[in-house]
Amino acid sequence: MSNREPVPFAQWDEPEGEWTLPGACPVRSNRTLMLEAAARFLFPTVLVFSVYLLIVGHYAPGGGFPGGLVAGLAFVLRYIAGGESEGAEIGSRFVVRPPVLMGLGLLVAVVSALAPAAFGAPVLASAKVSFDIPLIGTVDLVSSLLIDIGVYLLIIGVVLDLLRSLGSGIERDAREAAGEEAGP
């Protein structure tokens, strides 16, 4: 039906190329080495930090929304460092298309909202499970974390989609406009 193979969700983060490299950069003069280097270094760090924010949200400032935004900013940094890159490449490097990420986020959130009804609980009710894990101590796992995860995924999707549209899309327009002026 479609000419592109759908990518299993489990492989969404499997890079096609090198993980930390920004998008292909054909014009050398446009490259900012400092930024690129910083991006290479910062990108994974910030991603990890975003996951931390997501999880810590229940206990301290943070949560799915700031977490997602921080992760999104990591991608923004990468995009800026990558200079002129096609929007599609940003999408294809991470294989999962941004709309899919958004749809998944929303799906996770709404399913976790509806799921309690299946167990006879009110919609959007949360359940708490406590684990005793040696060395770390008691860990509470709250089902409402799922909503936070949904938010997190969706926000990343949104930011990626904005990069695709406001970023690459506008760039493409600009190039085409310039091409028209230069042409006949």
Binding site: P6, V111, A113, L114, A117, A121, P122, V123
Partner: protein
Amino acid sequence: MSTLVTLPVLLPILGAALTVLAARSARTQRLIGIVVLAAVSVVAAVLLVAADRTGPVVAELGGWPAPVGIVLVADRLSALLLLISTVVTLAVLVYAIGQRISDYGRETASTTFHPIFLLLSTGVSLAYLTGDLFSLFVAFEIMLAASYVLITRRTNASRIRSGMTYVIISLTSSLLFLTTIALVYAATGTVNLADLAGRVAALPEGLRTLLSMLTIVTFGIKAAMVPLHFWLPDSYPNAPAPVTALFAGLLTKVGVYALLRTQTLVFPGTGPSTVLLVLAVLTMVVGALGALAQDDLNRLLSFLLVSHIGFMLFGLAVYDARGAGGTALYIVHHITVQATLFLVSGLITRRTGTVSIDAMGGLARRSPALAVLFAVPALTLAGIPPTSGFVAKLALLQAGATGGAATAVVAGFVVLASLLTLYAMVRVWVRVFWGTEKEPLPDPDPTDELVVGTARASRPMYAATVALVAVSTAIAVAAGPLSAITEQAGADLMARTPYIEAVLG
């Protein structure tokens, strides 16, 4: 039962998420949309029966009691409006699908159209059901954001300004709404509507009036109340037919619903409200005169929409059970008929290739079916008996006649606006369906769905329109039970206690 109340909100979101994920299969997307909306219709019908038999159905989300958690409340009014809105949305979806098939073929999927259409339905459902002022804000934002996207999708140079007007005015009203919520919270410390009912009563009268006026302005913009209506006739007519139909049918009415709910529950009046009466008269007259001045069919209908918002404001302004009940009945009728008219207008413009009334003519001979499809809702809107418009107008007039001298005078304006509505419709009839036949204009740019031109209308488009006409007829036939429900709904609104007790226990 309480789970059921959440479904009209959550099911369309679920559907939207699935349609985003199913972005490669148009068939799946169509199926999801129709199934979800049909399911919500059934749920709404069940809720209506339950609310009518046993009182408001309340869902405390997450199991948290109000005012800690958000509550969703389906009482007679909200369940009824939910039902009719969803049915109309479903019909419009079928029409829109038909139009997409005619224009782009069967295989056209979209990550924007289908999900956003469903999310619009979520926003509308939430607005009807929520018992929380801030949640109402969120509902409006979902609904409006979806409407922004639908109205500006694939816009072109000549139409973009209408989208801008719509988006900017709506955003302004949203920020005003947010400000109002902040001010309400500042004065009362709660955003739960039932809780507010008690707390606002404790405020000095001047501040009550201040907050009440703020909500009137805020919701007045969404309801297109004169003098806050300008945006509507400038923006609605420029969207594709199904989008306009949906907006005209639902969005303004959600504004009226919010006015009705907040004014009766939170800011109860003791007698007819002079401010609202004046606004109602202005809305009726300015809207109707506007319609008479138009040459563009869709603009004409948009101005009539404004005019009839005045009818609903009038019922609210009477501030008694009959008035509120009349407004409820009028909303039910008007959602259906206004959507139908815009769908018919879409069929007409596809046939004639123009929206200019002046460029049409003799359509009754060429397309008698279209003539009937137009005539029935046109007469319904004008309130000619025995249509639903007549029944609803009668309810309003009766409320006006018993509400005192001022409301009786304004009832005269209702009648005047009806006459002007009929005149506007007759002009359309005479110029579009009578007279010498004019050649349809060819499509100047077939690639652009917003540039009007003749195009094929597929069968689902006609089926959806006919179905809506049938719904409208059913409203008239079932006026007995329906008006019993709306009258009781009006009494509930005025009594306030059924709602407050259901929410706060």
